[in-house]
């Protein structure tokens, strides 16, 4: 792959939820779908082989990797470095070769892969909103000033986020077609509440991958946050908080 930064950004986005992850590598694509340790959030990632300059995979395989460690290595990549990942089946190691002004090869162990396969939640979403990533990031930061959770609601015209803390409150309104809110489709008005620590971690970590993001939700159901990336997908699911 010609740009190590692209890989680093994706690993940053994944590492925010999980320490270890299992990549499924098929002749067509790389997939990863994992829940965070407390099973509140899920990341679903895919990169098709067309993204890579060179992609060889003769038979499907699964490799479990310590994502946190991998991120440490990738952070060493300089601007414009290219990266090459190879799997050493015999030694059960993943080699990461960074090619810049000189060539560095790191190797890291492959861990025992988990057998269980997680499906993604099947939910009928009643609201779909397209927002600039910067816009949603700012809004979440605003809400995080006053509380640890935020309710998101939508009607035909606008998307409203409300945060209610012990002493302070915040309301953030985004009108359709104005500024940050690029598009809004509402089948029926909906409202759900989410933990801000998860939301802000996810959005902060994924913000480097895409300039726009799509959120989908329904009343008291998980929210789906989608970051359109080149030749693949990066999607998060976050379970709601339901009070009383």
């Amino acid at each position: 792959m010609s740009d190590a930064k692209l890989l680093k950004d994706i690993i940053v986005a994944i590492a925010t939820l999980i320490d270890e992850g299992t990549f499924e590598i098929t002749p067509e694509a790389i997939n990863l779908r994992e829940m965070d340790p407390s099973r509140v959030a899920m990341v679903d990632f895919q990169w098709s082989k067309s993204l890579f300059d060179e992609y060889n995979c003769s038979q499907p395989t699964k490799i479990c990797i310590n994502i946190t460690e991998m991120l440490k290595l990738l952070k060493r990549a300089g601007k414009g470095d290219s990266v090459e990942l190879t799997l050493d089946e015999e030694r059960r190691r993943l080699n990461i070769k960074l090619r810049g002004k000189y060539v560095r090869t790191f190797s890291m162990p492959i861990l025992e892969a988990a057998v269980e396969e997680v499906p993604t939640p099947k939910i009928t979403f009643n609201v779909k909103a397209k927002i600039t990533t910067d816009g949603i990031k700012e809004a979440i930061e605003d809400a995080a000033l006053v509380s640890d959770h935020v309710s998101i609601e939508a009607n035909e015209e606008e998307l409203i986020m409300r945060a209610e803390g012990d002493i302070m409150g915040a309301t953030i309104e985004m009108r359709k077609g104005e500024g940050a809110l690029l598009d809004l489709e509402v089948k029926e008005p909906s409202k759900a509440t989410f933990s801000l620590s998860y939301l802000s971690d996810i959005i902060k970590a994924a913000s480097a991958t895409s300039e726009i993001s799509t959120i989908e939700f329904s009343t008291d159901m998980p929210i789906k946050i989608d970051f359109p990336i080149r030749e693949g997908k990066l999607t998060y699911f976050l379970a709601p908080r339901i009070e009383a």
């Binding site: 829940m35 899920m42 499906p119 099947k122 620590s197 699911f237 908080r241 009070e243």
Partner: protein
């Protein structure tokens, strides 16, 4: 560095002469057995009105009189400007003026086996009178040193270190610059110990070091945190590790520092529990809801363990009239918590956060299980004065030794807890991040099964 400045709640101290008046009163002075003049610094106006008789502060006994009475028992045993006695061993490193602090030995004016005086692991179950009784016999020798140069200091510091690493009582002789001051500082955040005085000469009998601590001391390439973990693994008592840690006995040779006693306690609790938590994260989750409980010195601890990944919250409620909440009319609740990945800031509730964390982590590591843990503490009016965070560590350790109540659901566990605490459950939930998250936060897994339409 793990060592951070410990922020403690503290009330303003104003000079209040009433207790001197009290002691000057010949009747009271007779009761207390005092004849000499004594100056006292202490807390707020309410004491002036109460004068130890009406318990206006809401405590069940006057902490001031308790301390004064023991103090007055100790004073006559100290003659003139020298003292010889058998140190537990014990040392105290102050924090005022950091990095130039007062360090020195704790020596009682008696020559018998005093080992237990500085080993909180053996204090659990003792009454507050007993603890204050033997603690106030410990005279604190003070010697000003720069914490950055523990190895290049003078003889007094060398001897203090020698003493701190000893595994048995050591006979110590001290010569003071002046007679130990007849002054009681009634600050609420210092654990009780006796009078203190500057020392200008110190001598100790030969000490016998703990073999394991000695090994860590002479290893100049072993990091301080690694030394702590090594010793803990070897079964050395936490309070002994902490004592050696405070005199700068561990660490890379050139980086050794003296660590004020107060900070060293938390540093050691934190280093050990962090290591245990790393292990715990690899273990399977518990599969029932458990409630543990222990009460000591009118501090009730209720510990809730929930199946789930490691996370931890420590909450405390201070009744009106208890140490940290003397003057308000309502109960104050404080909470601090960490998620799976731990925390990066010092917990605002202080050292007890880390002491309780050590106690619960020990239990889970021993069982090779993982859980979400919530520690609830009610400090009730009978807890008249602080005795140190060891109380939290040993109290929670005691809770962990009990057979827990086991439940199948969070609701049942909470219903049980409701009956074990004075403060309504709703108050706890309102103030607890983890409890609210457990009750209100849904899991993704709930949307995977049965909902596939």
């Amino acid at each position: 560095m793990l060592i951070r400045k410990v922020k403690k709640k503290r009330i303003n101290r104003v000079l209040n002469p009433w207790i001197r008046d009290l002691i000057d009163d010949y009747k009271v002075a007779g009761d207390l057995g005092v004849s000499s003049n004594l100056s006292v610094r202490l807390g707020k106006e309410v004491c002036v009105v109460c004068k130890g008789s009406r318990l206006l502060c809401g405590k069940t006994r006057c902490p001031l009189l308790l301390r004064v009475s023991y103090y007055l028992k100790t004073m006559p045993m100290i003659r003139e400007r020298d003292l010889s006695g058998s140190s537990p061993p014990g040392v105290f490193i102050g924090r005022i003026g950091y990095p130039y602090v007062y360090a020195g030995p704790l020596v009682p004016p008696i020559n018998e086996d005093t080992t237990v005086f500085d080993l909180p692991e053996f204090w659990f179950g003792k009454t507050i009178d007993e603890i204050v009784g033997f603690r106030s016999m410990l005279v604190r020798g003070m010697h000003r040193v720069n914490v950055r140069k523990p190895e290049r200091a003078d003889k007094i510091l060398d001897l203090t270190r020698d003493l701190a690493l000893s595994s048995l009582c050591v006979d110590v002789e001290l010569k003071f610059k002046d007679r130990p001051k007849k002054r009681i500082v009634l600050s609420d955040d210092v654990q009780p110990f006796g009078p203190s005085a500057l020392i200008n000469h110190m001598n100790i009998d030969s000490s016998k070091w703990d073999r394991r601590i000695e090994k860590a001391y002479y290893d100049g390439d072993l990091k301080a945190s690694e030394a702590v973990l090594y010793l803990y693994d070897q079964g050395v008592l936490v309070s002994r590790i902490q004592r050696a840690f405070s005199v700068g006995a561990f660490g890379i040779e050139k980086q050794r520092r003296l660590v004020p006693t107060r900070w060293s306690i938390t540093a050691v609790d934190s280093i050990i529990s962090n290591d245990l938590i790393d292990k715990i994260k690899g273990y399977p989750e518990i599969n029932e809801f458990r409630v543990y409980e222990s009460t000591y010195l009118d501090n009730r601890f209720v510990v809730l363990m929930v199946p789930g990944k490691w996370s931890y919250e420590s909450m405390e409620a201070w009744y009106p009239g208890t140490i940290w909440n003397p003057y308000s009319g309502f109960t104050v609740m404080l909470s601090d918590w960490e998620g799976y990945h731990g925390r990066t800031e010092y917990a605002k509730i202080g050292g007890c956060y880390y002491s309780a964390r050590l106690a619960v982590a020990e239990k889970l590591a021993e069982e090779r299980r993982q859980a979400t843990v919530i520690v609830l503490r009610e400090a009730r009016p009978g807890y008249i004065m602080p005795v140190g965070v060891w109380q939290v560590r040993e109290n929670v350790r005691n809770a962990m030794r009990q057979r827990p109540m086991k439940f199948d659901s969070l609701e049942e566990a909470l219903a049980w807890i409701r009956g074990r605490l004075h403060i309504p459950l709703e108050k706890w939930i309102e103030n607890s991040d983890l409890l609210r998250s457990l009750i209100y936060q849904r899991r993704i897994t709930q949307y995977l099964k049965g909902l596939k339409t």
